[in-house]
């Protein structure tokens, strides 16, 4: 419990072999929620521990070891998003609409003419091909929007948990979800319904 926090972190620092058991699940869940890719999440957890090991001398006890690892992992995830160019499908459906969010004019009217999607929603929802396009579109979202949308819709976290995971206000989350949906709609319109 809380009796000897110092002693406890001493032990942890001294025994890195215990790290995967003690912190692995928390770090993995965090990475999964953001990346949605199991192999990649596992890799980043491993890299986090190795980076922690290399830099253990710089660990200061005012934070817990888990918090410290989380900081390392966060940076690795940010790097990952920045450098994302691996999936060929992602390039195939590159979208241009993300620049500037110019969906509405100054008076708040639609800039684009939204055409109807003439499909059976039931078919589309089940379609593997549609899902792959949607996933590629999600990968195209700016990272902050992608993280919010994935956590909320794909991982099924409630709004409160998403806000605390991303350290944002509920209003901010609402804006991000709104923008994510605008971009996803446009991406699908261009790449699936075109």
């Amino acid at each position: 419990m809380m009796d000897t926090p110092d002693g406890e972190s001493c032990t942890d620092v001294a025994d890195p072999l215990q790290w995967p058991d003690k912190y692995g699940d928390a770090l993995y869940a965090f990475a999964m929620a953001r990346l949605g890719d199991r192999d990649l999440a596992e890799d980043l957890v491993q890299e986090t521990f190795l980076a922690g090991l290399a830099a253990i001398d710089s660990f200061r006890r005012e934070s817990s070891l888990l918090t410290w690892f989380m900081g390392i992992l966060r940076r690795k995830i940010a790097d990952e998003f920045r450098g994302r160019r691996r999936n060929p499908l992602q390039q195939a459906v590159a979208i241009k609409a993300s620049a500037g969010y110019a969906f509405f004019d100054r008076r708040g009217k639609w800039q684009l003419r939204l055409r109807a999607w003439r499909v059976d929603p039931q078919d589309v929802v089940q379609s593997q091909e549609f899902w792959e396009t949607l996933e590629a579109c999600m990968d195209q979202l700016p990272p902050t929007l992608a993280a919010a949308f994935r956590l909320k819709q794909l991982e099924g976290l409630d709004a409160q948990n998403v806000c605390s995971a991303l350290q944002i206000s509920s209003d901010n989350l609402s804006v991000r979800m709104h923008r994510a949906r605008l971009l996803l709609r446009t991406c699908l319109d261009r790449n699936w319904f075109a």
């Binding site: 995967p20 199991r38 708040g108 639609w110 929603p121 794909l154």
Partner: protein, 90 residues
């Protein structure tokens, strides 16, 4: 507010409606706008389709493996750390 709801605010409310229950006033304003705006009606149908699709795949993929580190990964990582430490197998 009811009479002056613009498309951008309507779209924001449509998004919010996917995530929370709108207030009475918001619902009223939105209904009035949707009645006269075909673009926003289309937008609603489209983002609902997107959300339904994501939810559909979310439930089918959040199996047992999703939330915790697999034993294989755990072992692999521990081995890596041991290697890095100079290992007991030295």
């Amino acid at each position: 507010m009811i009479l002056t709801l613009s498309c951008d605010r309507a779209a924001r409310l449509l998004s919010d409606a996917e995530d929370r229950r709108l207030t009475f006033v918001e619902r009223l304003a939105l209904r009035g706008h949707l009645f006269v705006c075909v673009w926003c009606r289309r937008y609603r149908a489209q983002i609902r389709l997107i959300d339904d699709c994501v939810r559909h795949h979310s439930t089918s993929r959040t199996g047992v493996t999703a939330k915790i580190l697999s034993d294989a990964a755990r072992l692999r990582i521990r081995t890596k750390i041991a290697d890095e430490l100079g290992g007991p197998h030295g």
